[in-house]
């Protein structure tokens, strides 16, 4: 009882030191990460779950949507980042409207290197491609089944990987600054291969969106020879994305999940 005051004082200072050290170490760790991992960490923020939904338009007509859910999960094996993709698109092939659907999940470790990959692509509601990948032998080993043909195996290097949505990818990164340049490998579900997306943050611009002025970062992303122009706000929400040829008339616009999915998923 005599030393209670001293013990409490020591406990308060110890608590204060511990918590502030943790804050400092967390910040130090964030600053020590490479640009992509730091951007993803800031993108996930304190909520650990973020969604990004966009409507796909061609010539003013809605032809589909694409959406991601990014989630930080505290698994038994350590921190994991789950990226779940849902994309539906109607394209015209020889004047006939065809529907393409892609569902996929990429589970990455805290270094954003893939642990597993699951992807299902459907064409006219019929299974077209199924991918199932897991980590092994220092690579990501992927079993691929395309239509009715015999399954085959492929491998991807164990490196930071983003799951693409068949268009020019929009990376889940925050803390953008003019002059930033990032090169991130992306898995393309159409060609079933990896390619590097190069993202350059050019400047901040004020754009008009739904009759409202918005300040956004202007980004140019080059992927497989196609250039995507994106306008991304401070919260790392992609507001508009436009493409160069051959997707010149396609525009992606930020929408709420329910609006983006309408009328394709009702």
């Amino acid at each position: 009882m005599k030393h209670l005051g001293s013990i409490l004082t020591a406990a308060v200072f110890a608590f204060w030191g511990a918590m502030n050290s943790l804050v400092f170490l967390r910040q130090l760790e964030l600053e020590g990460l490479d640009r992509y991992r730091s951007g993803v960490t800031q993108f996930l923020g304190t909520g650990f779950l973020r969604e990004r939904w966009m409507g796909i338009y061609r010539g003013g007509r809605k032809i589909g949507y694409t959406g991601y859910t990014f989630e930080k999960v505290f698994a038994l094996e350590g921190i994991e980042v789950h990226s779940t993709l849902e994309s539906r698109l109607e394209i015209e092939v020889f004047g006939v409207r065809q529907r393409v659907e892609i569902h996929g999940t990429l589970v990455a470790d805290k270094e954003l290197k893939p642990l597993s990959l699951q992807l299902d692509a459907k064409f006219q509601s019929q299974p077209a491609v199924t991918l199932a990948g897991r980590r092994g032998e220092g690579k990501l080993l992927v079993d691929v089944k395309v239509g009715s043909s015999a399954p085959f195996k492929m491998s991807l290097p164990l490196e930071e990987l983003h799951l693409g949505d068949a268009l020019v990818p929009s990376l889940p990164i925050a803390g953008l600054r003019a002059g930033d340049e990032l090169r991130v490998p992306c898995f393309d579900p159409i060609t079933l291969s990896r390619s590097v997306a190069t993202v350059r943050v050019l400047r901040k611009e004020v754009i008009e969106l739904d009759g409202m002025s918005v300040e956004a970062h202007y980004l140019e992303t080059t992927f497989r020879g196609i250039v995507g122009k994106s306008w991304v706000n401070d919260a790392s929400e992609v507001l508009i994305q436009r493409f160069g040829p051959p997707l010149g008339d396609v525009v992606l616009r930020k929408e709420r999940r329910e609006n983006a999915q309408r009328p394709f998923k009702e």
């Binding site: 943790l22 002025s213 300040e215 919260a235």
Partner: protein, 557 residues
């Protein structure tokens, strides 16, 4: 029994006596206050929820902007509570009469400091707690958060207010040796310079002057993005905002981390205050009570030397008349009280900032222009009602135990109430008129509306001043010398709620022709609404005056 237990028992006994002395009219008063507070909380929740929902629906940046609004809320709270606590703590721990009383007893200075700090922080932050909880509840409803969110948010807000209170206290303790060396005028200039400098840096930080007026939401977004302090991981407001946002998304581990960091930085003040209380508080209290400025003139006066250039004593009071003499006394008492003076400066600065902010507002077409016009009128009247509640309501109470002196003056008690109202009207009327003229000039209101706003503000000034002085005389607290505590007592709360209702009714009467007949009502309708507002003001002023005068007349001193 320890001194702390003795003080706690004294407080409990005082509270019990108050409860026992609740009479029939006081029960009605309690009912009105509870009902009024409930209404204020309900309105606060509804307005917050509607605003959050409106922002959320902005397609480009709604969700992100709402998160920034939460961060901005904590930044603003930190600034306001720290400023408020600096003033309340300084007056409570160094200048209050009860502190003198406690020092006359064998109570360790550390215990006195602890008791007075608890009171000061509770008084300076309870209103913030009550008004901010509905805002955060509204955010939780918008995010459809679970029950845990509300518990976590209440805890985070409580710890945050405690942190802000402790920080304000630490600053008050640090500046006490400097403040006691300054004269009133020097203190005025220094605090004005500090607040002006901070305000300039604040406005400059988001490039306010370079924006064109049409992009108001862009200004808001850029404003919040560019306050780098707000997003720093080492900023306490960010810990609180991070915890609330994490609670809304169900990340309890992050709530624990951010909330724990906030709690750790709050608790660390306790051993520091304990050390200060044991080592320095007694000495500082004696130094502050012992004397202020040590200028040569004061030193001569302290030594009993006659003043040079001594002007005749204000025996010309007779020439001024009783009204002039008593108004002069009130002005001198007001200027000599550092807490009143500093808070009134803060208030005037807020009014200037409000008027300045309207200079960048874009022109709104049609019906929206009328909505903005009335929103501005209500905002100015609400500022006025805060002013009258904080500064005019305590006027009679501040006479304190010396009330018998003014009671012996050869004037009726009703005249005293009238004199306080005249003094208050001079100040509140001037401030209200300047603000309404500046704000309507910024808004570019049409001449008829401009004139209507000026007239409505005059009426609001009269109505609110008589309400505050009348209710202040009807429910005085003569044993309290801290005006902030008088203003937040039961009578003060009653006045605050009555003032808010009066503003709502006045604005409602003025708006009636616009509601019924569109944005350009005929002149006779406008004149009729002004006449109705005048009748309402006269009625409120008369009833309040009679209530205050008759209550004072019945009192013995």
């Amino acid at each position: 029994m320890t001194p702390l237990c003795s003080i706690a028992r004294m407080r409990a006994a005082s509270l019990w006596n108050r409860v026992r002395s609740v009479k029939a009219d006081s029960v009605a008063k309690v009912g009105v206050v509870v009902f009024g507070l409930g209404t204020v909380l309900g309105i606060s929740f509804w307005v917050s929820f509607a605003s959050f929902r409106f922002i959320e629906e902005l397609p480009a940046f709604g969700t992100a902007l709402n998160a920034k609004v939460i961060s901005l809320l904590f930044l603003t709270l930190l600034v306001l509570v720290v400023l408020s606590t600096i003033i309340v703590t300084y007056t409570t721990i160094f200048l209050a009469r009860e502190t003198d009383f406690l020092f006359q007893h064998p109570i360790p200075p550390r215990t006195i400091l602890g008791v007075k700090l608890a009171e000061a922080i509770a008084f300076s932050s309870w209103a913030t707690l009550v008004l901010c909880l509905p805002v955060l509840v509204a955010y939780g409803c918008l995010r459809r958060a679970g029950t845990a969110y509300y518990l976590e948010t209440a805890a985070v807000l409580g710890v945050f207010l405690l942190f802000a209170g402790f920080l304000g206290t630490a600053i008050a303790m640090a500046i006490a040796p400097i403040v006691r060396l300054l004269s009133g005028r020097q203190l005025l200039v220094a605090s004005g310079a500090v607040l002006g400098g901070l305000g300039f840096l604040f406005l400059r930080s988001f490039n306010f002057w370079d924006m064109d007026g049409e992009n108001d939401l862009l200004i808001l977004d850029r404003f919040m993005s560019q306050i780098s302090t707000m997003h720093s991981p080492y900023f306490p407001g960010q810990w609180a905002a991070g915890a609330v946002l994490a609670a809304a998304s169900g990340s309890h581990a992050e709530v624990a981390f951010q909330g724990g960091t906030l709690l750790a930085n709050t608790l660390v003040f306790l051993p520091l205050f304990s050390w200060y209380g044991a080592r320095w508080y007694g000495r500082q209290w004696i130094a502050v009570r012992g004397g202020r400025s040590r200028g040569p003139a004061r030193a001569r006066r302290a030594a009993g030397a006659p003043r040079r250039n001594l002007r005749p004593a204000p025996s010309d009071a007779r020439a001024r008349g009783p009204l002039g003499a008593m108004v002069l006394k009130d002005i001198l008492v007001f200027v000599r009280d550092p807490s009143q003076l500093s808070q009134s400066i803060l208030f005037i600065l807020l009014m200037v900032v409000y008027s300045l902010s309207l200079m960048r507002i874009p022109e709104f077409p049609g019906k929206l222009q009328v909505v903005i016009y009335f929103a501005n009128l209500i905002a100015v009247c609400t500022i006025l009602s805060s002013f009258t509640s904080r500064f005019l309501f305590p006027l009679v109470s501040l006479e304190g135990k010396a009330f018998w002196i003014v009671g012996l003056a050869p004037v009726s008690r009703g005249y005293l109430v009238l004199q306080k109202a005249a003094f208050g009207l001079g100040v509140s009327g001037t401030l209200g008129l300047l603000t309404i003229i500046a704000s309507n000039a910024s808004l570019g209101s049409p001449p008829a509306q401009f004139a209507g706003a000026v007239y409505a503000t005059i009426l609001a000034g009269v109505c609110l001043t008589f309400l505050a002085t009348g209710l202040g005389a009807a429910y005085p607290v003569f044993d309290e010398d801290n005006p902030a505590r008088i203003a937040v007592g039961m009578g003060g709360t009653l006045n605050f709620i009555s003032s808010a209702l009066a503003v709502a009714v006045l604005a409602g009467i003025e708006a009636l022709p616009y509601v019924l007949l569109g944005q350009e009502p005929p002149l006779p309708w406008l004149l009729a609404s002004h006449a109705g507002a005048t009748a309402f003001t006269a009625g409120v002023a008369l009833v309040s005056f009679r209530l205050g005068a008759s209550s004072l007349r019945r009192r013995d001193f």
